[in-house]
Symmetry: C2
Subunit: 207 residues, 2 copies
């Protein structure tokens, strides 16, 4: 079974669109989804940006909120412009990293995204994250304790460094093997690429 | 008949994709295309950029050329990565401004884009521009002379200032009335918006 890697930041609004669409699209195409939470902030910093370009560039920022409204209508997704943007996704990302391979991971990621972009909730709030985990029957106490360990913090730093090493400069980013697709607008293209490419080819470097 | 405004820069690679697709899509949807050449450079300068972000951000730049290759394959368009990027589009934009309402305008715009992005030709070269005009039976001498007048230079500066005043921060940009759509990826959305909106509504401010 072919894999689509989905690299995302819980603070990224266009990652929200992909998070809510990818499981169904991948299932229809017979692909396995690998969820890859990472932190976009350190990458923006290496580009010389202290925040999201949607904050730093006013005109683009204004456009993006209107675009999100239209895109959510198109995809029949709920939408509420976050009153804080971008929200601190550190705890959510560490928790998601703890969930690799766990049955609750996909549901957790979707609910955190909905909290941020549909319900305007503070996803940096530990009680909110715990409530989502418990709602999924995942037992929040042990997971959040593990998420706060130095090992988990180091793992998230390593994940973000891996993102940079693979050439990731924004989110969402999809990989089929080494083939990289940027943005929710390329999700369908990435899936089409995977389903028209043999497993061997998708794993090799293309240029 | 509803109108879709298509704001573009001849040096913009994603504008190339839209230029080669918009006439057919608009015709099928019963829309009139208004071609709006402008200069993206002055807008980038106000954002503090001395060149295209695809040049200034290496990782994004590398991605963009691979993306263009895939997008052109998807749309069955010819593609050759320009050996100079972004090319100086000043003369071509001035000529296009002279062509407003002329029967040769759409063909001229497509051929300049093909020269830049399919044949790797220097679109700042007056002989190339003249050849395209003459090939369309447009009589290059008078048009190029008009394009070099102070009046035409001022008109292009005014056009680019209008772009900025309307909130344009990149290209291609589409308008249905005041509703703005950014990027070739939104061309279909813009057309759908026009065809599901009454003429009155499209002309009013939406937010």
């Amino acid at each position: 079974m072919q894999t689509i890697e989905f690299w995302f930041d819980f603070g990224s609004n266009y990652s929200y669109l992909s998070m809510m669409r990818i499981q169904r699209l991948a299932q229809e195409a017979g692909l396995r989804v690998e969820l890859k939470p990472f932190m976009l902030g350190p990458i923006f910093k290496t580009l010389g940006w202290e925040s999201s370009p949607f904050v730093l560039q006013t005109m683009k920022g204004n456009y993006v909120w209107r675009d999100m409204q239209r895109q959510c209508a198109k995809y029949a997704l709920r939408w509420q412009r976050p009153s804080v943007f971008p929200r601190n996704a550190l705890l959510a990302a560490r928790v998601a990293l703890q969930g690799e391979g766990a049955p609750w991971l996909a549901g957790f990621c979707e609910r955190v995204m909905l909290a941020n972009f549909a319900d305007d909730r503070e996803i940096g709030d530990e009680a909110l994250i715990a409530g989502i985990l418990d709602g999924l029957g995942a037992g929040s106490a042990a997971i959040i304790a593990a998420a706060k360990t130095d090992a988990c913090k180091a793992a998230l730093r390593a994940r973000s460094a891996e993102a940079q090493a693979r050439g990731i400069f924004g989110a969402p980013m999809f990989f089929i093997g080494d083939e990289m697709f940027w943005g929710n607008d390329r999700l369908e293209d990435a899936i089409a690429y995977a389903t028209t490419t043999t497993g061997d080819k998708a794993g090799s470097v293309t240029s």
